[in-house]
């Protein structure tokens, strides 16, 4: 069974059509990234899935449950999901370990508190008050609170904003480990490299609609896109776009009789593709 099933989802705020007919299937155990510019409808979509927002029309099933329902069934459902929101801050008068320990008490089968603290790399800060943490450390605490309930499905809304590169790498490892334990993850992010490193599939949303759903390496025809070969010929840098870069390099090797000066072969990055896709729909 799919972890998430969405058909024909629509949501307007007054005359603003934030979500204009979205269909999504996310299978259990998958890491699924939602990409899109600000105001594209990402947050609205995710918040409907999380049960924070109502919808105008469409069918939504998250772990077999309609998130607009309330009551005891909703508690049972929330017991199985974890949510890391975009921006949360607390009064900060509790320590890291107190906060995680408290939240763990909300769930029926929580992870060990120490294990969670270790997983997000806050071991040395376990006894610190939250208000003494740096921005990145607070963000890791947010993630800790999202995973302490041992969720089957985890929502991560721009989880690494404000992380330094090292912390981001550490976070990616944490997500890889969660994947290993079978957790389904829905990730929204601004960082294309993050989506590429983590996601099994990505969806690009713009103007309230999904433009494409694909693997990061195939998005926007990326895997079959022309490669760009550049090299130096005397004082000039030359380049050629080609479907057959290997043949071109072979030809050049013959011409230069060996090493080709300053040779590069590049394919469009996920970012190039993404920007092209977003730009396209603005026309």
């Amino acid at each position: 069974m799919n972890a998430i099933e969405v058909t024909g989802l629509r949501k307007s705020y007054g005359s603003v059509h934030a979500v204009r007919g979205i269909d999504l299937s996310i299978s259990a155990g998958e890491i699924f990234a939602l990409l899109g510019p600000n105001g594209a409808g990402k947050t609205t979509t995710v918040e409907i899935l999380e049960g924070f927002r109502s919808r105008d029309s469409g069918e939504v099933s998250v772990l077999g449950f309609d998130p607009r329902n309330e009551g005891n069934a909703a508690r049972e459902w929330r017991n199985r999901i974890g949510i890391v929101l975009q921006s949360t801050s607390d009064s900060g008068d509790l320590t890291v370990v107190e906060t995680i320990d408290h939240f763990s008490g909300y769930y029926s089968n929580p992870r060990e508190v120490d294990e969670v603290i270790h997983a997000v790399g806050l071991d040395e800060k376990a006894g610190s008050l939250i208000r003494k943490l740096s921005g990145g450390q607070r963000r890791r605490l947010d993630v800790a609170l999202g995973i302490v309930g041992n969720p089957e499905l985890l929502f991560l809304d721009e989880p690494t904003t404000g992380f330094d590169p090292e912390a981001r790498r550490a976070f990616w490892t944490l997500i890889e480990n969660l994947r290993g334990s079978g957790t389904t993850i829905v990730l929204t992010t601004h960082y294309l490299d993050e989506a590429e490193a983590l996601a099994d599939r990505v969806a690009v949303i713009n103007n309230g609609q999904i433009i494409e759903i694909s693997t990061p390496s195939e998005l926007g025809g990326r895997s079959t896109a022309q490669a760009l070969v550049t090299w130096r010929d005397g004082s000039e840098v030359k380049s050629e776009a080609t479907d057959n870069p290997t043949a071109l390099v072979n030809k050049m090797t013959a011409i230069f009789n060996g090493e080709i000066p300053e040779l590069t072969v590049t394919r469009p990055s996920l970012e190039d593709i993404y920007l092209r896709m977003i730009g396209k729909t603005h026309e």
Binding site: R75, T88, D90, S91, Y106, S108
Partner: protein
């Protein structure tokens, strides 16, 4: 698979957490817990008269201080701090967990009640030591006192949570809430002798719970002979109970139906 913890057990956990968080904010601890005794010290020093044979102003004022302590600690504090928690995103995060809203409310009620018990204790100590406070005698007075504190805390908590819907932001909350509380205190006979207030003030005050809490507290702290000086010539404790209960139900109704977890 274990079961999800019950709403009540989570409410008690939340109460413990709320108290711990509160205890770490030293400034507000000092202000909240000492506020009634500080006010008693000020008013007790200014007004040294007796207002009836054997009834000092301090004695009269102690009743009002406990009643308005209930309003400050429950209604005022919650109607200001909950919008702040909402601004921080702390409420939205709680909303995303299996913790039920009732546990959050129970936690707040525990915080208010514990804070009240400490404030009352301080007020008793200060009153006994410096202002010749006469403690209630007789089990019936203490029973009245106990239900007034418990029902008053619950009512004030529920109304504070319900009112937290109204301020748009945490920053603006105290500007909305504080004047209401101060006006109610003047109208309800906390700072002045209720029977000396203009009738229109008395009538407005009679709609709201503070007047009844104050009157109920007078029945605990003043001699029964004083009851004849009340407007109804009696303490009207049964009526007080009903009014507080009705406001409690109103507060719970709006808290449950309209509680806002998120800013928008």
């Amino acid at each position: 698979m274990n079961k999800i913890p019950s709403a009540i057990s989570l409410g008690i956990r939340r109460g413990g957490l709320e108290i711990r968080q509160f205890a770490r904010q030293r400034e507000s601890v000092v202000f909240t817990l000492f506020f009634p005794v500080i006010l008693l010290a000020i008013f007790g020093s200014v007004f040294k008269d007796t207002i009836a044979p054997g009834v000092t102003f301090s004695q009269y004022f102690t009743a009002g201080m406990i009643a308005s302590g209930l309003v400050n600690t429950g209604f005022q504090a919650l109607a200001i701090t909950i919008p702040l928690e909402r601004d921080f995103g702390a409420l939205k995060r709680l909303r995303g967990t299996p913790m039920p809203v009732s546990s959050y409310f129970i936690g707040k009620a525990i915080l208010v009640t514990v804070s009240m018990v400490i404030q009352i204790f301080m007020l008793f100590v200060g009153g006994l030591l410096f202002f010749g406070l006469e403690m209630p005698t007789g089990a019936d007075k203490w029973i009245t006192f106990a239900w007034l504190v418990l029902l008053g805390s619950a009512c004030s908590t529920a109304l504070g949570i319900a009112f937290s819907i109204i301020p748009k932001s945490g920053r603006g909350a105290s500007a909305v809430v504080s004047p209401i509380v101060i006006i109610l205190q003047f109208f309800s006979g906390v700072f002045f002798i209720f029977t000396q207030l203009p009738p229109w003030m008395q009538q407005i005050a009679a709609i709201f719970p503070l007047k009844w809490l104050t009157q109920g507290m007078r029945s605990v702290f003043l001699p029964d002979s004083f009851a004849t000086q009340e407007i109804a010539k009696s303490w009207e404790n049964e009526k007080t109970f009903v009014v507080l209960l009705v406001w409690l139900i109103i507060g719970i109704f709006f808290s449950v139906r309209k509680f806002k977890w998120d800013r928008d």
